[in-house]
């Protein structure tokens, strides 16, 4: 009797893996479809009588960007100061604590600025978008849009996607600046230099490529956060419990997508 049970359990495990892979492929396909549909409506919307309107776009930018400035600023200062403390502590062992500016400027611009901002926005706005869309699915608001002749991708996804693609790089730029100010406030007295000298050294440490690297990543993160949230949102099942589930999964999936993409991006651009 043992053998069939083992086979049964192995079969179930295999079936479960198969289902997960199928779901993942489905989600990727749906995400790609939504992204290209969004591009289509951005380009063709006006000529198709379904133009993308400015008001919802500005509303999204306000929610994703402007309202996030205080928390992004606070975390960015903390990151800048923490990196500086760790940097000075490590580099002191080699008598190279003056190199901390180079280390902080490069790591904040290329890595921590886009990554921390992306993670924060995924947690804050990705989850909100998933909750909004899943609630709309459950309360038939998406169906209502369709029967009114309004394309839901154009009406809901495009403002969120475009808003995110404008706001996330801007927030990242802001985060980099604030992190460096935080770092300067800590580092300047520690290594006996001035704020002006600190930023002169920052200017010498990073170039346009480093900034482009960070901003390009944040643009990719913007697409990932939005598409993951939308895919999770429209896959909702059940009522309020389902909304809670997709909201959580949007955060987990969004952050996972950001971190993995970051690794791939760094591998491809620094190899």
């Amino acid at each position: 009797m043992a053998a069939p049970e083992r086979h049964g359990s192995a079969g179930q495990a295999l079936e479960s893996v198969g289902r997960s892979v199928t779901r993942l492929v489905d989600a990727f396909g749906l995400g790609a479809h939504l992204f290209f549909q969004s591009l289509y409506w951005v380009i063709m919307g006006r000529s198709r009588g379904q133009r993308v309107r400015a008001e919802p776009l500005f509303a999204q930018m306000m929610v994703i960007g402007v309202n996030a400035i205080p928390i992004v600023s606070m975390l960015s200062v903390a990151i800048g100061v923490t990196l500086s403390m760790q940097g000075i502590n490590s580099l002191e062992q080699f008598g190279a604590q003056h190199q901390v500016v180079f280390m902080v400027a490069l790591s904040v611009t290329r890595e921590f600025g886009p990554l921390i901002t992306g993670i924060l926005v995924a947690g804050r706005s990705g989850s909100a978008l998933a909750a909004r869309i899943s609630t709309m699915v459950i309360s038939q608001e998406i169906d209502a849009l369709k029967v009114m002749g309004i394309n839901p991708v154009r009406y809901i996804v495009v403002p969120a996607l475009v808003g995110m693609m404008i706001v996330l790089p801007s927030l990242t730029l802001w985060s980099i600046g604030i992190s460096l100010i935080g770092s300067a406030l800590y580092v300047a007295p520690q290594i006996g230099t001035t704020m002006g000298a600190y930023f002169t050294q920052v200017n010498a440490s990073i170039d346009a490529d480093d900034l482009a690297h960070g901003l390009a990543k944040s643009l990719i993160f913007a697409v990932l956060i939005t598409i993951v949230a939308v895919v999770d949102g429209i896959s909702v099942k059940g009522g309020a419990e389902g909304v809670g589930r997709v909201t959580t999964s949007a955060v987990v999936h969004g952050i996972s997508a950001i971190v993995l993409t970051d690794m791939i991006f760094v591998f491809m651009t620094t190899g």
Partner: protein
């Protein structure tokens, strides 16, 4: 009971509609014709396929086979843009209202105008207020959907559905969740809409009193098949045992097979 309106040319023609969800057949060879200006009630017990049929009629779902002609357009042959244009000629009132929770009542009603016309904001507001007066909700235009009662939500949804002056109006369970007084008032409103605006109206319901009150004709669905299509009197006096079971409200109890239900729930059939 037949209303004074003379039946005219067909505006909805459903031919041999078949729909499957996975292995399960939801609609089986459904054919019906709905004429201009009539109120057609689609009636049936839970799981009879009436809501699925409605979703097909408003192009929210595609059938496995068969055809639907709406206002002379074959739905299956329309591309997306043509379908969106056709959607402007229909209005749908969903079971739960489907009002946008982030918008006030009047913003909900303005939305189709805002999206499909170039009217200025003031004109859109005036048009929306006219529809709000029709459904007797004028004083509540600035409230949010969460501040409305069930009956008010349905009325606001109707105002939104008629704001583009559609030729066809669809209702999904208009009486669901309402007390008899509010439900009766809503029935009156549906009749008024037909009389005042000459709309063709399709109502999906399982409420017999409501169906008998408003229908010109009734389509009775059971297990995805049409049992009969006829006037209220024809349906009432039908000798078909399944129809009589439905009318006597014994339908759902008799049809509920626990094993079958659990299998369906697990997706095994």
């Amino acid at each position: 009971m037949t209303h004074a309106h003379a039946p005219q040319q067909p505006v909805i023609e459903v031919r041999n509609l078949v729909t499957h969800y996975g292995e399960r057949r939801i609609l089986n060879d459904v054919s019906l014709t709905i004429r201009q200006g009539e109120i057609m009630v689609i009636m049936g017990g839970s799981g009879s396929g009436k809501s699925t049929l409605l979703r097909h009629l408003v192009a929210l779902e595609k059938a496995t086979s068969g055809s639907i002609k709406l206002l002379g357009y074959e739905l299956g042959e329309l591309n997306q843009m043509e379908l969106y244009r056709l959607c402007r000629k229909i209005g749908v009132s969903f079971q739960g209202g489907a009002l946008f929770s982030s918008m006030s009542v009047i913003e909900n009603i303005i939305l189709p105008l805002h999206e499909h016309t170039d009217l200025d904001r003031m004109t859109m507001k005036i048009m929306a207020r006219m529809k709000l007066q029709v459904v007797d909700l004028a004083p509540f235009e600035d409230l949010m959907p969460s501040q409305l009662s069930g009956g008010m939500i349905k009325r606001a949804a109707i105002a939104r559905a008629i704001v583009m002056d559609p030729a066809l109006l669809f209702f999904d369970e208009p009486s669901a969740g309402l007390d008899p007084v509010v439900s009766s008032a809503l029935d009156e409103l549906i009749l008024e809409l037909r009389d005042a605006m000459q709309m063709t109206i399709v109502v999906v319901t399982h409420e017999l009193d409501s169906a008998f009150k408003i229908a010109d004709r009734i389509t009775v669905l059971d297990k995805g098949e049409i049992l009969t299509i006829g006037t209220v009197d024809e349906v009432r006096n039908s000798s078909n045992e399944r129809i009589q079971n439905l009318l006597n409200r014994r339908f759902e109890e008799e049809e509920l097979d626990p094993d079958e239900y659990l299998k369906r729930l697990m997706g095994q059939t």
